[in-house]
Amino acid sequence: MRKKNQKNLTHEMKELAALVSELKEDEVLATIQDHIESRTPPAELLSACQEGMRLVGLMHEKGEYFIAGLIMAGEIMYRAVDLLRPVMIKGRTGENPGRVVLGTIAGDIHDIGKNLFRDLLECHGFQVLDLGVDVPPAEFLRADSDFGANLIAASALMTGSFPQLRELVRLFNEKASEKKTRPIIIIGGGQVDEVVFNMTGPDYWAPDAFSGVRLCQKLVAERVGKVTL
């Protein structure tokens, strides 16, 4: 899948991806600005940035980048998204794709991926309520009762915080026992995988911010707004 995406990038977009992977912020932003002015579709630019981020991730795995490299890549993405957001919002037909309550679950303060996920969601028109870090499951529930989300997204990196993800699901299921419906619950984070997903009981999981956004878009496109219990 990823190889196919990479293959589909034009030469210019591959160059943009390379600039992202080399963490050349000024060059990335200038290139994106030029492309916006020459009306390159913003989705293409975003795909190129995504490919660049994937390369950064690989370099981190190989030990070529420290955590700071990942954060710098995130900084570049935030600024790239800032440039692309108005163009993407302008290009949309006005339909609101969804409302997401988001936070890093209690016991954990890691938020680099969570913040990137939030910015990408907003870039794609989602209305996002970010509760921040170390958020108790009950706080998600309280926030949702005011905000009316159709998606709840919780991230976790620390193993010890995984039981809180389960508690989050339990609380929403308990609350939904009268109405028989609740928002869809998605989890994500560096160590979240199929095992953690099975253990904690949400509806979906995503391994990174980009696939998380694609998942949210897919769910909204399929009009899966609530889970019926």
């Binding site: 030990g63 710098m72 900084e75 303060i109 620390m158 995503a206």
Partner: protein, 232 residues
């Protein structure tokens, strides 16, 4: 029962001190520091060492969960025992309760001499980042990286000369806009790790020829019903 200790070099000073005090004579095998930054690499490295052990009945693994690095480890013909903690900071502070007390007024970036001497540590990384990205971007990176940290906490484990390290710790704290603090360490957990008893409250005990999964870490794996399923 023949026992071997396979432990992270980051906590070598502390383990060797407690081993001397408790007259622990188990042989040590040290794993280089810094691998916890990439849990898959740490898992492979630890497994590599586990696979070479022969005629051993118990391995004391001197690591925390380290970003789930312990998940997937396989014991051989020996029992595997490791602390039931997210990382070794809790071990050096003595208990989860001590750690909770340390962070109740704000996030703490914990340090010991072992961390500052490790192959990858916050100060070496800072200097490399500054050289590559310059002061403005470095400030942005660290503002984001340390957004939820208030203190730089040097743990006084009693295993090294604290006053010799303080000037460097103060310099790091000033540079990173954190408040330097000295936090009292405790050797209760380390002593129990070396001498037992290895109870399930403080330790994960994995039987021979078993692969570690989340259930071993005290997190149940009972099946859940999923109204919807899977990842994208």
């Amino acid at each position: 029962m023949k026992t071997v200790i396979l432990a992270c070099n980051t906590i070598r000073d502390e383990l060797e001190k407690v081993a001397r005090e408790t007259l622990c004579s188990y042989p040590f095998v040290w794993i280089e520091s810094g691998l916890h930054l990439r849990p898959d690499s740490l898992r492979r490295r630890v497994q590599e060492e586990l696979d070479t052990l022969e005629s051993v009945q118990r391995v004391l693994l001197g690591f925390g969960f380290c970003g789930n690095a312990v998940i997937g480890l396989r014991s051989g013909d020996f029992q595997l025992v490791f602390p039931k903690v997210d990382d070794c900071i809790t071990v050096l502070l003595g208990s989860k309760e001590s750690r909770e007390r340390c962070v109740k007024n704000g996030g703490v970036y914990f340090l010991t001499k072992g961390w500052l001497e490790g192959e990858a540590n916050i100060w070496r990384e800072y200097e490399a980042v500054l050289e590559r990205f310059g002061p403005e971007r470095t400030e942005r990176i660290y503002k984001r990286m340390l957004a939820h940290y208030r203190y730089l906490g040097l743990i006084d484990t009693g295993a090294y000369n604290l006053s010799a390290l303080l000037p460097l710790v103060n310099k790091i704290a000033d540079t990173l806009k954190l408040e330097a603090r000295v936090l009292p360490g405790a050797d209760r957990y380390l002593k129990k790790f070396l001498a037992g008893p290895w109870d399930s409250k403080d330790f994960v005990i994995v039987q021979p020829f078993t692969t570690v999964d989340l259930s071993h870490l005290g997190i149940d794996l009972d099946s859940k019903s999923h109204p919807l399923q899977g990842a994208l």
